[in-house]
């Protein structure tokens, strides 16, 4: 971290006061942000992270949003970014979820301990009554020492009061005695009170920035005191008037219990399949890839460039050839991938905002444990059925390098992406239920075996699940759309160039004839071991470029009558387990070390041919 005052990166008047929005995940911060700033919002990415920060204006002040965090420190990217914005804030608007006071006030008290002027927006007050709770707001304000304003942000209630209060009423609150007593011992080493607190709390980044050494930190003592204080406040201000579990509490429990949770999960996955696998992958893609990109755009580019470039030259191949960077790449990325990725992120955002996703993580934790993962890994696995490239990037959320390696390997190996899934389903359909079941069985066995084995041999320790289960809520469509947009955009900017580079490599291989050499080199394995016709190797090679190309290549061979049903099955198994597409391979190399990536790549080659070969020896 070169420049530690990150807020300077956003183009603002240096004298303008900075209002910073702070809160736990999913408490409704963005509603406040939008209400304060209106339409003129600037989204900037923090260097070295995937975290975006929105900033805008309210009157003559700058308003900055931060990622939802449980506390200010350096546990992950979100926290580091939030910390650097919060440290140099002038006024803090802390949004608190009233139903989760025990959790949220921990962050509130920490900000108060920093000495920042704070306004607390006590959000989701409408749910308080529903859940049989009563809150003494004046008492809470008195205990914290800062103004507390009840709000129902989604309905606009209380927002005007918050706006008024921001201008005049924000003030520093009651610090913990332990902070008050010790702050001065480190205050002279740093520029701000807020930094002094984090030095006391042993934040390694802040300590390193100020070249401080030999400080005896008090993190444990302060956290303990803060926890005790918060629980004490909650006890004083909150009263439960009835104990009737609401429907959402019951539903939440049903989602966790395997007996009811697994059927619920199956129904949800079926709905997701209907939406993405049928609606997006077929109806929408037919339109985006088939018509807009595949016809209008493709014809436009060809009409424009073909007269100039011809079709034979290397440049023509590179730009507008079969794998051209102006033809195949944009058609693939925008026509096929983008709709699927948007669809997947849309579904994932709904699952996340409604509170369902953490419950799925809990439900699947036990099974994933035996693969060396914890429940959190269900997120990249679900995403993998959309796009393995996207899922591989998402493995960043996993807690250890070991888990990231295992998850990446399993994704590359045994999860067919949606681009491929459609063609595979089309080929399996006519083969009947038995062959389909055999296919699914083989893939599931490989997935489970590979995971179990990796769990045995990969050194290190996986992290355990510890996850907050928010109350179930109806997600807000605005939030869902914003998340979908931000994540999809991040994916396209990150993976787009890799697809481009992949296309260039393949064009070069094809033009120089190396592609044929590789295909021929595969022939002995294809013919001898897999008992497939020679041409299947070409389909396999195509599968490296785009996974669905490989499957589509098989489709052609079937329609020419070159493969019998058993051979189709063998080829499908090989192509599913086979390395992911070239973009996914590049992401794997980018995310993992060279050694690990090579292992994943060559490993999936070997396993795919071995498995397909064994099946071939038995059934063909």
């Amino acid at each position: 971290m070169q420049c530690h005052n990150m807020t300077e990166k956003i183009d603002i008047n240096k004298d303008a006061k900075k209002i910073v929005l702070v809160g736990n995940p999913n408490v409704g911060k963005s509603v406040f942000f939008n209400a304060l700033t209106g339409a003129y919002v600037d989204v900037s990415n923090f260097p070295g992270t995937t975290v975006d920060i929105s900033s805008g204006r309210y009157k003559d002040m700058v308003v900055m949003d931060t990622p939802g965090v449980y506390g200010v420190s350096s546990f992950n990217d979100e926290e580091r970014v939030a910390r650097d914005v919060i440290l140099y804030a002038d006024i803090i608007l802390n949004v608190v979820d009233t139903l989760h006071l025990e959790r949220d006030l921990f962050l509130t008290q920490q900000i108060i301990d920093m000495g920042k002027p704070v306004i607390v927006a006590l959000n989701m007050m409408d749910e308080v009554k529903k859940n049989g709770l009563e809150i003494d707001i004046d008492k809470l304000s008195q205990e914290l020492g800062v103004p507390v304003i009840p709000t129902v942000a989604v309905k606009g209630e209380g927002i005007e009061k918050v706006k008024e209060a921001l201008a005049h009423c924000a003030r520093p609150g009651n610090r913990l005695p332990i902070v008050e007593e010790n702050l001065q011992t480190v205050r002279h080493m740093v520029d701000e009170d807020s930094e002094a607190l984090l030095v006391l709390e042993e934040d390694e980044n802040v300590i390193a920035r100020h070249h401080i050494s030999g400080i005896k930190g008090l993190r444990e003592q302060i956290y303990q005191a803060r926890r005790t204080r918060v629980d004490e406040i909650v006890k004083k201000v909150m009263r439960q008037t009835n104990r009737g579990a609401s429907f959402s509490v019951k539903l939440g429990r049903w989602m966790l219990s395997p007996l009811t949770g697994i059927p619920i999960l199956i129904v949800v996955l079926w709905l997701v399949y209907e939406f993405i696998g049928v609606f997006v992958a077929q109806t929408v893609v037919e339109w985006t890839e088939g018509l807009i990109m595949g016809e209008y755009y493709y014809n436009f580019i060809m009409d424009l460039l073909e007269p100039i470039l011809g079709t034979e030259s290397f440049l023509a191949q590179l730009l507008i050839g079969e794998f051209g960077i102006l033809t195949m790449t944009p058609v693939y990325v925008f026509g096929l991938l983008l709709p699927l990725v948007v669809g997947f992120y849309f579904v994932l955002s709904i699952m996340e905002d409604s509170g369902y996703l953490p419950r799925v993580a809990v439900l699947t934790d036990r099974s994933l444990n035996s693969l060396g993962l914890n429940g959190r890994a269900i997120i990249p696995i679900i995403l993998g059925f959309g796009c393995v490239t996207m899922a591989t990037i998402t493995t960043r959320i996993l807690g250890s390098r070991r888990e990231r390696f295992i998850a990446t390997m399993l994704l590359g190996l045994a999860i067919p992406c949606s681009a491929q899934l459609g063609v595979i389903a089309g080929l399996l359909g006519p083969l009947g239920i038995q062959m389909t079941a055999l296919y699914v069985l083989v893939i599931v066995i490989v997935f489970a075996l590979a995971g179990t084995l990796l769990n045995r041999v990969v050194p290190g320790k996986s992290t355990d699940l510890i996850i907050d289960l928010p109350l179930l809520r109806l997600p807000r469509i605005g939030n869902v759309l914003k998340k979908t947009y931000v994540k999809s955009k991040a994916f396209i900017t990150e993976a787009g160039p890799l697809f481009l580079l992949g296309a260039v490599i393949i064009s070069v291989l094809q033009y120089t004839g190396i592609l044929d050499v590789i295909a021929n080199g595969f022939a002995p394995i294809t013919e001898g071991f897999l008992k497939l016709p020679r041409e299947t190797a070409v389909a396999f090679i195509m599968g490296i470029i785009r996974r669905d190309f490989g499957a589509a290549g098989l489709n052609d061979m079937v329609s020419q009558g070159l493969l019998n049903p058993s051979q189709v099955l063998v080829a499908l198994i090989a192509i599913t387990l086979f390395v992911p597409c070239i973009a996914a391979v590049m992401v794997i190399f980018k995310e993992r070390t060279w050694k690990e990536a090579l292992l994943i790549w060559l490993g999936s080659f070997a396993i795919s041919f071995l498995t397909a070969g064994i099946v071939a020896q038995i059934i063909v």
């Binding site: 709770l133 809990v362 439900l363 036990r366 699940l465």
Partner: protein, 84 residues
């Protein structure tokens, strides 16, 4: 006694959380040495779900095995001390 041995509906006191990295994260969710919590649900061989007020937190079985607890009587400080 360890957290994985708790019964559903049982209240308990957290005696110790051995892992420093985990304990600093857990304390924010209301899980810390000395906290009085309740187990609201246990998945078969899976995570233990505990409650602190309205807040529910799921803890993987492996981690639960490491957390030392002491069961509390039902009568101790009412059913839900965090709220009342």
């Amino acid at each position: 006694m360890r957290l994985d041995q708790i019964n559903k509906g049982q209240r308990f006191l957290i005696v110790s959380i051995p892992d420093k990295q985990i304990s600093t994260q857990a304390i924010r969710l209301g899980i810390y040495e000395g906290a009085k919590l309740a187990c609201v649900y246990k998945l078969p061989a899976g995570p233990v779900v505990i409650q602190n007020g309205m807040q529910e937190i799921a803890i993987g079985r492996g981690l639960a095995r490491k957390i030392e607890i002491e069961p509390l009587d039902k009568g101790d400080a009412g059913q839900c001390s965090a709220i009342i």
